[in-house]
C-alpha cells in the first residue's frame, strides 16, 4: 500500500469524517425494542446483539457491497446504480439513512476531497464522475414517474474511494468496517455494552473473519444480483418508525 492510499484510507475510516453515520443504528434500536421480552437480562441482550452484528454485516454486504464495487469498477454507471439501488431498497428508514449519508458524502466530496483525487487514470475518471453526479444531483427534478437522482450512499462511496486511489479490496473492507463501527457505537449508546467491550468486539478476530467472509462471498457479484440475506432486518428497520421514543434515525 502506498502512503497516498493509506492516507486516503485513514481519512475515510475516521469517525471525524462528517457523514453523520453515528445517527443510524441500522435497525438495532428497533430490534432491541421488539425483543424486549425475550432479552430479559444483559447477558441475553449481548448474545442477541452478537448474532445481530453478524447478520447486519452479512445483509449490508449482500445488499450494498455489489453497488459499492460496481461503482468502483465503472463510475460512469453512477446514475443507473443510484436508480437501481433506490428501486431495490423498499424500506423507508433504510432509504433515509442511505440518502442522508450519500448527500453528506457528496458535500464532503465537493468541498473537501475533490482536489485530492489520485493521479492515475481510473481515479481521475472516478473523480470526474463524482463531480458530474454532484452537479446533476443539485439540478435533479422528479420526472413524470416521480423518479429522480437520490444520492444513495453505496455507489457514491465506491466511486469516491476509486477517486481517492484506494484498492477495490480496501474499499470493500472499509465499507463493511465502517458499518460495523457505526453498529457498535450505536450499541454503546443504546447501553447494550460498555465502550471497552465494544472496542474488544471491533478488534476481535471474529469480526474480521466475518467481514472477510462477506467480501469473499460478494466477490464478482453484479449489482443486479444484490439480495436481502436476512429478511427480518427489513422488518426491524421498517418498523423503527413505530417506536414510541427513539434515539437514532434508523
Amino acid at each position: 500500500m502506498t502512503t497516498a492510499s493509506l492516507h486516503a484510507l485513514l481519512i475515510l475510516s475516521d469517525s471525524a469524517l462528517p457523514l453523520g453515520s453515528f445517527a443510524f443504528s441500522s435497525g438495532l434500536e428497533s430490534f432491541l425494542a421488539h425483543n424486549k421480552q425475550r432479552h430479559t437480562n444483559s447477558h441475553a441482550r449481548l448474545t442477541a446483539f452478537d448474532a445481530f452484528v453478524e447478520q447486519s454485516i452479512s445483509n449490508i454486504a449482500s445488499t450494498a457491497l455489489p453497488y459499492v464495487l460496481t461503482a468502483y469498477d465503472d463510475p460512469t454507471q453512477l446514475e443507473d446504480l443510484d436508480n437501481d439501488f433506490d428501486a431495490s431498497t423498499p424500506c423507508t428508514v433504510a432509504r433515509r439513512a442511505s440518502v442522508s449519508q450519500g448527500r453528506a458524502l457528496l458535500g464532503i466530496w465537493e468541498r473537501a476531497l475533490s482536489t485530492s483525487a489520485a493521479s492515475t487514470a481510473p481515479s481521475q475518471n472516478a473523480a470526474k464522475e463524482c463531480t458530474a453526479f454532484a452537479l446533476a444531483y443539485k439540478s435533479a427534478k422528479p420526472d413524470a414517474f416521480g423518479l429522480q437522482l437520490n444520492g444513495h450512499f453505496p455507489p457514491l462511496f465506491g466511486a469516491a474511494c476509486s477517486a481517492l486511489g484506494l484498492s477495490a479490496e480496501d474499499t470493500a473492507y472499509l465499507f463493511l468496517l465502517n458499518h460495523a463501527k457505526a453498529l457498535l457505537s450505536a450499541a454503546v449508546r443504546a447501553s447494550v455494552m460498555g465502550p471497552y467491550q465494544s472496542q474488544a468486539m471491533l478488534a476481535s478476530s471474529k469480526l474480521q473473519a466475518c467481514i472477510r467472509a462477506c467480501i469473499e462471498r460478494e466477490r464478482g457479484a453484479r449489482a443486479d444480483d444484490a439480495a436481502v440475506t436476512v429478511p427480518a432486518m427489513d422488518l426491524w428497520m421498517g418498523r423503527h418508525e413505530l417506536l414510541y421514543s427513539r434515539i437514532f434515525n434508523s
Partner: protein, 334 residues
Amino acid sequence: MSNPFLTPPAKPGHGIIHLALLPPSTPRLRTASYQYPLKLVSPSPTRLEDETRCLVHTIYILTYGGGLVAGDSIDLTVTLEHTTRLILLTQGSTKLFKSPSRELVSKQRITVNLAPESALCYLSDPVQPFEHSCFEQSQIYNVTVPSFSAEHTASLCVLDWVSSGRPANGENWSFRHYGSRNEIYLCFPDGKHRLLLRDNIMLDDQHLEGSITDRMHGLAVFGTLVLYGPLCKALGQFFVDEFKALPRLGGRKWDSGSESGDEEADAAMIKRFARHRQGTIDGVLWSAVPLRGCVVVKFGAPTLEGARRWVRDMLLHEGSVVKNFGERALLCLR
C-alpha cells in the same frame, strides 16, 4: 393472422398465456399452452358486478405432484393486452422437494408483459421449501407505459411468500438454498427499460455461520406484497395508513379500558382495533413502504395461518381487490 390452433411450446416446463383483446372490449384467452411439468387450468372468466362489467380471466398454475422436484424448471410467459385483467392462482402451496446436491437447483421464472391499463392479480399460496431443497424463482413484470407519463399504466397486485417448510416434520427453514426475485420494469415507447422496483431475497445455509433459522428470528413465514398502478392505488394507501396507525412500541396503551370516547369511535376504527388485537395475537410483524409509485408491504409471522389471516383480512376489509378482480382473486388466501 394468428394461428387458431394451440401450438404447444417445445421445451419442458415452458408455458405461454396470452390474454388478447377482441375489439372493442372483449378480452379473450388466445393462448394457454404448457408443457410437463407445468400445467395451466383456465376456468371460465367471471364478469364483475360493478359498472365496468369487466371480464376477468383466471388461470391456475399447477405442477404435477403439487411442486417442483429437484432440477425441474418452469418458464411461464404471460402477455396481457390493453385493459385485460387476469388472476393467477395456485392450488395449495408450491412444494419444493429435496435436492441431492447444491448444484441441482429447481427454477421457476414468470415473465409478465403488461400493456397499458391491463391488470394482474397474483395472490398465490406460499412456497414451501422442504429440507435440503434448492430453489430459485423470479417474477419479472414488464410494464409498458403509453407515453412518458405515469397515467393509464397497468396495475399489479402480487404476493410472494415463503414458509419454513413442514413444521410437523421438524423442518424449520431447513432447505439449502432459496432465492426469490421480483422486479418491475418500465418499458418506454423508445424501447428503453428502467428498473422501477426490485425485491430480491436470498436465503442460503452457507451464507452465515448460524443456520437460516437463526436469521429468521422465530418467523415461520415471510412475504412481500407489491402493489402498483391505478387499480391498486387505494389499496396501497390503505396499507400505508394502517401502518401509520399501528400502536407505538414502548408507548402506553391509552386505549385500554372503557373511556367515554370509545363509543364515538366509528366502525372503521373499531375494526382497526380488532385487527390490531388479532395481529398481536398472531404475532404478525409488518411494514408498508410507499416508494416510486409502488407500495411494498413486507410481513412475517410465527405461524402460516396467522399470516394468511392477516393478509386476507387486510385485503377483504379494504375491498378493492374483490371489486376490481372478483372474489376468486382471494381463493389462495382462504
